[in-house]
Assembly symmetry: C2
């Protein structure tokens, strides 16, 4: 913990199979006008929409709706939502869905009372809101992004071919409350479930693989990774296992709510590589991260050897006796590879639509960061992506 | 994470060697009248008092003081503080000290506008405040209790010989902000430092040694314990080591701010035994916990064997190959014993003032809880205390 930092995370979390019960208590805290925000309609099929509407009606709320929020919420959709929230004189934005729906609700929150263009202000200039923002509540139905307990919001500008995330500084932008029922995540297809699991795992890795000091944050990160590995193996063969799914849900929240980045730098280069693959191929986010991870980590391993050795021992239980540091570190990544294959993750970017033809575009779209163990050159980006093919 | 629960912890933490800089920003949020609360005056010797007063003056605050808050703050002292805070028309209670000062500030907070007797209402009937409470801020100078980020408050009624803690349900009772500067903890004598370290360790154990399910909370707990073990060994021989002291400080906060108890039962019997020893001998809290821990854990080990085995492997790195579960679990406790002796912790209650004469009083003062792996009988309490002699 050598760094100076501040930590504040006021989101109230209701967790468990009966957590939706608490929605009415939370609704009492806000005015009458609620804007319900959701995605493609799966919540209408699985009954969650009806449950939520029922509680809203019982609480005497006037409800407007923003439906059809897409996986990568667009700027056009944001403009549409801002108008709906304004007309409804929204007192509360209630997001029911996964990370995209929650990210989108935060974007509406900071934009409703803003006279400037939100894209320019928040996603190009990274400014903080100067206007009144709207409270956001969340009923989570998908797991991975951690958006239920952070101030992050990613918006995609299709015209400009840009997908930009802004982590707002003010904790007021975090959801005021989030309702986390592991059962809601059980209807997700296997492909999406394991992609989400890898997204969580990589969020932890991005914050873990950086820094040289002995730091409590890294020990917490190791604990979260160990829990995720155990639970993911169970959920992989038994997706209805409540214990495993609940551990995965709770781990996802703590993997990206700022706790484990406290007092240390972060890497995030896997996300830069993966997002570039996603921008060109439109592949599922977690799968793009999976497909580039091992070539990336094997490349930077020599620059952060002690951390990779520690990762092998503390996370994967590698026995280090009579082995060189390199051997131990390598074995850790081999264990990680075995686990990834067991889950059925994408292990290369060609299966996600990357080709020799669009590789140049992916290289070009990859942002190069500098807080990890090795700042990549463009040539290294290209080499890593080629090894990911 | 099989249990249903809610989590909310809105305390804003400022951490690091320059963290006091942030006090003025926080002071802006409250009215002019600040009541400064502190203990026996060590903050006047080490300069922290002057620094804080300086910032209060620069912020234009009117300052009243409650000085001389003792290690186990008494009910009489509470009554005195309530009067001072009322006369000062306090807008903010600023606690500068360790857990006792912070606990005391929370007790004043819930009592200033309360017409009923606070001892009866909060510490005998365990009621929640029905009046307006005062915001509490904290500048931490000692590490261990976690009071800087929780809603717990322990008050001692000397007349009744009762020391009772109440963890309030409302997150508003938690400090609004806490300033954590590891350097402030470095002037503490070695005995107090290691007692605090064991208090932290045992807070984690109390929440860890319970429950049968696979639970993310236990993995986070293991990470915190590992971090604490590494840092405590460094601080033990090099108390001015900032890296180690900062890890210890951060671990203390997360050891008892409700995170690692989420979704699972807790034990807390070591605290019941230790507090009984403390009630009779007036020994340092952390040392009383240390002196009873091993006899207690060795006694309950067969009832929670799998968890003790896991503790040995995941926390102490015991190699389990070709060993029975009992052997592995035992080796874990032996490693713990080695570490405790290395730190110089009290290993028996006779060195803390327990005698064959007052043993009966200690047995009588021990509350028996039931969420651990074994609900003790009175005979077992006596046996454990005898083995602690």
């Amino acid at each position: 913990m050598l760094g100076n930092f501040s930590y504040c995370n006021p989101t109230k979390l209701y967790f468990g199979s009966n957590s939706l019960e608490n929605l009415s208590v939370e609704l009492e805290k806000y005015g009458d006008n609620v804007v319900l925000i959701y995605g493609g309609g799966s919540i209408k099929k699985n009954g969650i929409y009806d449950e939520v509407i029922n509680i809203l009606n019982k609480s005497g709320k006037k409800v407007a709706e923003i439906a059809g929020v897409m996986p990568n919420p667009t700027l056009e959709k944001l403009y549409e939502g801002i108008e709906i929230a304004r007309k409804a004189k929204a007192d509360l934005l209630l997001a029911v869905g996964g990370g995209s729906v929650c990210d989108y609700a935060k974007a509406v929150s900071v934009s409703v009372n803003c006279d400037e263009d939100p894209w320019e202000k928040y996603y190009l200039k990274f400014e903080e809101p100067t206007c009144e923002t709207l409270p956001v509540g969340c009923v989570l139905t998908m797991v991975g992004t951690g958006s239920e307990m952070n101030a992050g919001s990613v918006i995609t500008n299709r015209k400009e071919k840009l997908k930009i995330g802004h982590v707002f500084a003010d904790e007021k932008i975090m959801p005021r409350f989030s309702i986390l029922n592991p059962e809601y995540t059980m209807t997700l297809p296997h492909y999406q479930m394991v992609a989400g699991i890898y997204d969580i795992f990589n969020h932890i890795c991005e914050q873990y693989f950086s820094g040289e000091d002995d730091n409590t944050s890294d020990y917490i990160a190791e604990g979260l990774m160990r829990s995720l590995i155990v639970s993911s193996k169970i959920a992989n063969v038994d997706p209805k296992n409540y214990e495993a799914r609940s551990n995965i849900m709770w781990t996802a929240t703590w993997a990206l709510n700022t706790l484990i980045k406290m007092g240390k730098p972060g890497d995030w280069e896997v996300h830069m590589l993966g997002q570039a693959v996603g921008a060109v191929t439109d592949a599922t986010h977690g799968m793009t991260l999976a497909a580039v991870s091992l070539p990336y980590y094997r490349h930077i391993m020599p620059y952060g050897l002690q951390k990779f050795k520690r990762f092998a021992i503390n996370v994967w239980g590698v026995n280090s006796e009579d082995k060189t540091d390199e051997q131990v570190a390598n074995e850790g990544l081999c264990e990680m590879e075995k686990w990834m294959k067991e889950l059925g993750l994408a292990m290369n970017i060609s299966e996600l639509g990357a080709t020799n033809e669009n590789l140049k575009d992916i290289v070009k779209a990859t942002l190069i960061l500098e807080d990890g163990y090795k700042k990549l050159t463009v040539q290294e980006v290209e080499d890593i992506l080629k090894r990911s093919m």
